[in-house]
Symmetry: C2
Subunit: 195 residues, 2 copies
Amino acid sequence: MGRWEPNARERLAKAALDLYGERGYEQTTVAEIARSAGLTERTFFRHYADKREVLFSGAIELEQLLTRAVADAPPSAAPIDAVASGLDAICAEFEERRDFARKRQAVIWATAELRERELIKLASLAAAFTEALRARGVPPSAAGLTAEAGVAVFKVAFERWIAADERRSLTRLARESLDELRTVAMGGHTPMNEV
Amino acid sequence: MGRWEPNARERLAKAALDLYGERGYEQTTVAEIARSAGLTERTFFRHYADKREVLFSGAIELEQLLTRAVADAPPSAAPIDAVASGLDAICAEFEERRDFARKRQAVIWATAELRERELIKLASLAAAFTEALRARGVPPSAAGLTAEAGVAVFKVAFERWIAADERRSLTRLARESLDELRTVAMGGHTPMNEV
């Protein structure tokens, strides 16, 4: 795959993101993406099933990474600490791609179909988290809650990470968000006007 | 509306749920729902925009209820306690309709389009929660996290509530789930095989 087309996958993704941002996702065709990347449609379809896939590829690998990290946490680790390990593992995957993530998110926010797909991806991530915790022997409802909390932390950290002026790493923001969740759950953060 | 058709709205909803369960959601038409309820299609459309709406009506009222309950929590209440008030308010709305909720959920689980719609509804509930907390002066990221945690608690409690042999109230299950989240966030629930 791609022997004569160095970095075809990345070139296609970059061309697609640029076109989605300029013209809108719905108005962009696969033919235009391929042309803009200097490649053929045939090559596009060797890498992606369709133009939506450019934005959501890697989701399965991400779930596998998460599952492995949760499984590899020390046997004595509490569920929330296993979740922290899982978050560290998936955050590391994103660090080098903040620019791509920013452009991608702008496209997703602009298109209802893509926002739905993103919600499904996050629900699937929560399910993977739950399964991984169940495999560690965590009871079902605690596993479900801890997994949903983990995904909530990831969502909030990710949004902060792609904010225009943010420079801290995703890993750090996720750790801070997890600490914030702990504080909140213990009844912290009274309203500002009460402080 | 419905002066000559007592309980038309409820009759239509019940007929729709029964048909979705028997034949499948996709195979059921509005004409069949109306006929089965002994009403006309015209009456159906006076109550619901389409057959999907039967399953998702009331979502806006639920968000308003939640928003009001969060706003009405004592000014000194911590965000998580305001969330607890919001959960109490929305749970109370469901208590009398466990049977309907069970049938509805079975239909939703069986149909991809409806599962997506359900995810959107929950995301919208989380957004309403976040806004209501922001209005109390809770800082943005704490508001987002607390809201997502609240929705996670609701999801887990709701799933338990509609389980076949469950008899406890949704309100009680939501309170238990919130306590469980607190325990989990503080590092509780070590894996069973370690206890």
